[in-house]
């Protein structure tokens, strides 16, 4: 495998791991919400599952073994209330956006585009859940000048 292809695989696996964790997390989030918020959580969960499946297919198409999801994840926020569920959603979206950063920077242009679009979707969902925006979604402050 070329160095370029290896880079693609590493970045795809990182994005996949984040999408798997988000798919798991949204199950928990949904169980603490009702009405319109539940519907929104279900839709967001589906979006992450779709992204996860696309990433899995991209890895398989490149002859790589997609790393399987964990049976359970230690959530960054203990969720017992609907408020906590909302903060978990925001946290997961921020992690997903950051996880696509590697894929945005690979040489493969189709992967770059896919990653940028998914970063954007994550930032939009984070804004919907939090009612706030951040100037540089996904970017660590260390990369800013």
């Amino acid at each position: 495998m070329s160095a370029r292809a290896a880079k693609d695989i590493v970045a795809l696996q990182a994005a996949l791991a984040a999408e798997q964790a988000a798919s798991y997390g949204y199950g928990i989030i949904g169980s603490h919400l009702d009405g319109r918020r539940f519907t929104a959580a279900a839709a967001d969960c589906l979006a992450h599952e779709r992204a996860r499946d696309s990433l899995t297919a991209m890895l398989t198409a490149r002859g790589a073994q997609p790393r399987p999801a964990a049976a359970a994840y230690r959530l960054p926020i203990a969720v017992r209330t609907s408020e906590a569920a909302l903060s978990l959603a925001v946290t997961l979206e921020r992690r997903v956006a950051a996880a696509y950063l590697g894929l945005v920077a690979v040489p493969d242009r189709a992967l770059q585009r896919f990653a940028a679009q998914n970063m954007r979707e994550s930032a939009v969902r984070a804004a919907r859940w939090s009612g706030k925006t951040e100037p540089f979604p996904g970017l660590p402050s260390s990369s800013l000048r």
Partner: protein, 177 residues
């Protein structure tokens, strides 16, 4: 995983290389033309787009947000617009910090300050027009990501994401779900 911010260096090196090599032994010694083209063009487009966004929001502070709406809506809209304006200024500063041109080239290309298209009257119309501008800006930025060098691709993608997130607040200044 953030790509090394090498843009500054790369541009400076390309520019310096083209100058020193020009005085040397002949055509073959020039080697390939320094790659100052596509990356710089993408960055300059992004800068021009962001300047226009900043100007668009700045206009609002000149005459305020008006219309036959409740004071409450106007107040919320102003808070949203102020926050977004600040984010655009941060975008512009980041983008500009990555564009380093040799002094002669930079001064040879003065940029007129952008005049934003006029905005419609009424708070709701105004927010809708801003949302449309944000969406268009985000799409343009996404389009410039493929093929951009790593660090610039990451910055452009992040700003594209931020512009799209602005639309959420402009659509519903009352905020969250």
């Amino acid at each position: 995983m953030v790509a090394e911010p090498t843009r500054r260096l790369a541009l400076a090196a390309a520019a310096a290389g083209s100058l020193t090599l020009a005085g040397c032994t002949g055509f073959r010694a020039l080697g390939p033309v320094p790659k100052l083209g596509a990356d710089v063009a993408a960055l300059e487009r992004a800068i021009a787009g962001e300047e226009l966004m900043v100007a668009r929001y700045a206009v609002l502070f000149g005459f305020g947000v008006t219309g036959k709406h409740s004071a409450h809506l106007v107040e919320q809209a102003l808070a949203v617009v102020t926050a977004i304006h600040a984010e655009h200024q941060a975008h512009l500063a980041q983008l500009r910090s990555r564009l380093v041109l040799p002094p002669r080239l930079a001064t040879a290309r003065p940029r007129p300050s952008p005049t934003p298209p006029s905005l419609p009257a009424g708070t709701r119309n105004l927010l809708a027009a801003l949302a449309a501008a944000e969406t268009a800006a985000s799409d343009r930025l996404i389009g410039s990501v493929p093929g951009a060098p790593p660090a610039l691709a990451q910055l452009l993608a992040s700003i594209a994401a931020a512009e799209a997130a602005h639309v959420v607040l402009l659509d519903r200044p009352k905020a969250a779900r």
